[in-house]
């Protein structure tokens, strides 16, 4: 029976297992058999047993007892055994295992084997799992192969050298001369390997980078050859001649041209040529164009070339292929600060991408849109962002609200627009906003003095519609408590006034107080607002008194404390309640204790009350007192 069938038979049996337990059983039996076979003398089945073990390993079962077998097989003279042995080494051994050192000698021998396929195994394995020590040991051998062997080996030696340099950067110097000469080769595989190696050397050593700047003309020639060449079936991908090599050369040019005028000049024409002549109807061409754009944006290119690059990105934005739209936005994000105006030109398309089905594309479009907000486009762009917010994926909501608030703060064309925008966000996504939103909004409302009437009307309307969004409810309660009189007055310039009675207002606040949806902090706001209204309404003070006293025995400690304090105000300091034991200072927020702002925390001692000054008219400075209640009769700021 051909040995390979035994492996396949085992695979079949394992796959036939109906349960995890059954599978484990089969595998345990097989592994036991394999172990036994390993212990026996060579019987011609070693490579197949190792292959079986590797399959089992891939399924996730332990296979370390196969490590020594790999070492043995690698040392075998037979290719079939070496092949599996090296594969095993790559799968089971890594540089951290001691066993990996044992194969160094085999690798060394195999690097000079007369069969190139054996040499290939050794090179591949060294490049996969060679430790620093192994690399140091074998580097001279690799260098020799870089210079004097056939193309098949040279291309592999180049990539192996890349691994060595990553492990032992100092060895870069050793490979530099050979890498340089490899650029003269015609074989695409060797050229590709050479370019990758040179790139690695340049990225790690600035002196080497300096040296290789001299080869820019040569690289340009090679690229030209690729771009202008006729159809070459061997390397053609969708009409592009060797896109893989083109991309690597472009990347190397990027590194060489960075921060260097001479080098950048030398590649300018080529880049323009590639950018103009490459057909981007398929991915291969788009990949080359994309790399070209990346290079143009990173080197010291002429402004005309930069514009060309940004336009390519703009074209990509309109591509049917979602992948291309995505990478276009990634690039635009990187240049939105430096080439802001150029990117602005594509704002429309970017905003359209907010509606894309794919969350990754949406995220990119969001980032870009936020970066493109300016004083000029704030109104129209905000409309789009708010629209986006109403249907955006949950994982993006917090980021979106945050971005919207920042943009609004920077570019709000008017206070009313600003307030409206924040309210809109709270209504749409109030659960996904930062904690500071509530105090920030309160601050904003306070300073917008002409809009107090408008704001309180709007918030009242929001409150009677829906009390589930805590942040919105908290601000609404605060506003009603503060400007309830304006609400009750029934007139408003900026908006349709509603006929609101004192009972309506108190109903609304009581609903909040009683609702199980309201958080303790929200209830605190509602209770305080109710209390504040006692100074602004005339007919229903008793109702307020009774609400407050109910909460005096509320199970929530904070609420209870507040209610008790307010009760005290009613009883002992009633005469001051109107005159304002405390003044309504404009910068109320700075003085409000944490817990009144909805922050959770231990109850703050009612220092406010202890600071109240007995005595009718003397209003003390707002700084000392807690500014718990806004007084009607007292002028602000005193």
């Amino acid at each position: 029976m051909s040995p390979s069938v035994r492996l396949q038979e085992m695979i079949r049996v394992i796959r036939g297992a109906r349960t995890q337990g059954e599978e484990r059983g089969v595998i345990q039996r097989e592994c036991a058999a394999i172990r036994a076979q390993f212990r026996q003398a060579d019987n011609g089945t070693r490579s197949h047993n190792l292959a079986k073990l590797l399959y089992v390993h891939m399924l996730g079962y332990p296979a370390h007892f196969g490590q020594m077998e790999c070492v043995r097989l690698i040392a075998s003279p037979r290719y079939n055994e070496k092949r599996v042995g090296y594969l095993g080494a790559m799968m089971l051994l890594d540089e951290k295992q001691d066993a990996s050192l044992l194969i160094t000698n085999s690798i060394k021998n195999d690097l000079s084997h007369n069969s190139q396929y054996v040499q290939s195994l050794a090179l591949c394995t060294l490049a996969c799992m060679g430790s620093a020590e192994m690399c140091r040991d074998l580097a001279p051998e690799i260098d020799r192969l870089l210079r004097a062997s056939n193309s098949y080996i040279k291309k592999k030696a180049a990539l192996c050298a890349v691994h060595i340099v990553r492990k032992v950067p100092d060895l870069g110097e050793l490979f530099t001369p050979a890498a340089r000469s490899l650029l003269c080769e015609k074989n695409h595989g060797v050229l590709h390997g050479a370019v990758v190696l040179i790139t690695e050397l340049c990225e790690r050593n600035p002196d080497t980078l300096e040296q290789f700047r001299k080869v820019v003309p040569e690289l340009v020639q090679i690229m030209k050859g690729l771009v202008m060449s006729g159809y070459s079936p061997e390397h053609n991908v969708a009409g592009i001649s060797d896109p893989f090599l083109q991309v690597r050369i472009l990347r190397l040019l990027r590194i060489l041209g960075r921060n260097n005028d001479t080098a950048s000049d030398a590649m300018n024409d080529l880049l323009a040529q590639v950018a103009t002549n490459t057909d981007s109807s398929k991915t291969a061409g788009s990949a080359v164009l994309y790399e070209t754009v990346l290079t143009v944006m990173d080197i010291k290119s002429e402004s005309g070339l930069r514009v060309l690059a940004v336009n390519i990105l703009g074209r990509f934005l309109l591509n049917n292929d979602r992948n291309i739209r995505y990478i276009s936005m990634t690039s635009l994000q990187k240049i939105v600060q430096t080439d802001h105006n150029a990117v602005q030109r594509h704002r429309g398309t970017i905003v359209d991408c907010l509606k894309d089905q794919d969350a990754s594309v949406k995220r990119r479009a969001l980032e870009l849109s936020l970066a493109l907000v300016s004083a000029v486009n704030i109104r129209s762009l905000m409309k789009e962002l708010l629209l986006f917010l109403s249907s955006c994926p949950p994982e993006l909501r917090a980021h979106t609200t945050s971005g919207i608030f920042n943009a609004a703060e920077r570019y709000a064309p008017s206070q009313r627009w600003h307030i409206d925008t924040i309210l809109h966000v709270l209504t749409t996504a109030g659960g996904d906003v930062r904690d500071e939103t509530v105090p920030n909004l309160i601050q904003l409302i306070t300073t917008a003095t002409e809009l107090h009437c408008y704001t309180v009307h709007k918030l009242y309307r929001a409150l009677i519609t829906d009390i589930s969004v805590q942040s919105l409810v908290q601000v609404a309660c605060w506003c009603i408590g503060e400007y309830g009189d304006l609400l009750l007055r029934g007139e408003c310039e900026e908006t349709e006034p509603v006929q609101v009675t004192e009972d309506d207002v108190l109903d609304a606040l009581e609903t909040v107080l009683q609702s199980h949806m309201s958080s303790p902090a929200t209830r605190g706001f509602a209770l305080t607002a109710t209390m504040k209204l006692s100074t602004r309404i005339t007919h229903n003070v008793d109702r307020i008194r009774s609400i407050v006293s109910i909460y005096g025995s509320c199970i929530d400690v904070e609420l209870q404390q507040r209610a008790v304090e307010y009760n005290a105000l009613f009883k002992k300091y009633d005469h001051m309640r109107y005159r304002g034991s405390v003044c309504g200072a404009p910068s109320v927020i700075a003085k409000l204790p944490e817990y009144l702002l909805g922050g959770s925390g231990e109850p703050v001692p009612s220092s406010g009350l202890s600071h109240t000054v007995p005595g009718p008219a003397t209003s003390t400075s707002g700084g000392d007192l807690l500014d718990l209640l806004g007084g009607l009769d007292v002028s602000p700021g005193e």
Binding site: R12, N43, H192, G193, E234, I327
Partner: protein, 161 residues
């Protein structure tokens, strides 16, 4: 640094790993964790979505071919489009080798899939940009393997092992 591809995975829609190649030294335990996590993330993607996603500090480029997901992890600065082309090239090689490749081919001949991958990529980089060249090398290597295998089984058959 310029390390482009960190690893490549092939897995089925049911989350069965069919091939894994790591191009950086990673502990076995970490490999398992990453594979599990990544498979979950990719399998949750809907059909029309982008082939690229961000995961940890890497970019993932994936494409589904019939019942198999081909998934590469590349570094931040990489060109995802060319990685898609690399994946496609690998699929073409498998297809040419097995003749209209399907998942079962890769399951029952997993070691051959690895041999092809190792002839195509080294350290995450392409070794040869010519499809023909890669296929020819594998063909030759297979011949060499057969040569070294057969004398043994002939002897065995004759009972002279």
């Amino acid at each position: 640094m310029v390390i482009t591809m960190r690893f490549m995975l092939l897995f089925s829609r049911q989350g069965k790993l069919r091939l894994q190649k790591w191009y950086t030294a990673t502990a076995e335990r970490d490999k398992k964790k990453m594979v599990r996590e990544l498979m979950q993330v990719v399998l949750a993607r809907k059909p029309k979505m982008c082939s690229f996603l961000e995961w940890r500090d890497l970019k993932i480029v994936y494409k589904r071919y019939a019942s198999l997901y081909f998934c590469c992890a590349v570094e931040e600065q990489d060109n995802e489009l060319i990685t898609l082309e690399v994946i496609h090239r690998f699929v073409e090689l498998l297809d040419k080798y097995f003749g209209s490749v399907c998942e079962l081919d890769i399951i029952f001949n997993f070691e051959k899939a690895y041999f092809i991958l190792d002839e195509f990529l080294m350290g995450g980089e392409i070794q040869d940009t010519s499809k023909k060249s890669v296929l020819k090398a594998i063909e030759q290597a297979d011949l060499l393997q057969e040569e070294d295998e057969s004398p043994r089984s002939v002897l065995e058959e004759m009972g002279l092992a």
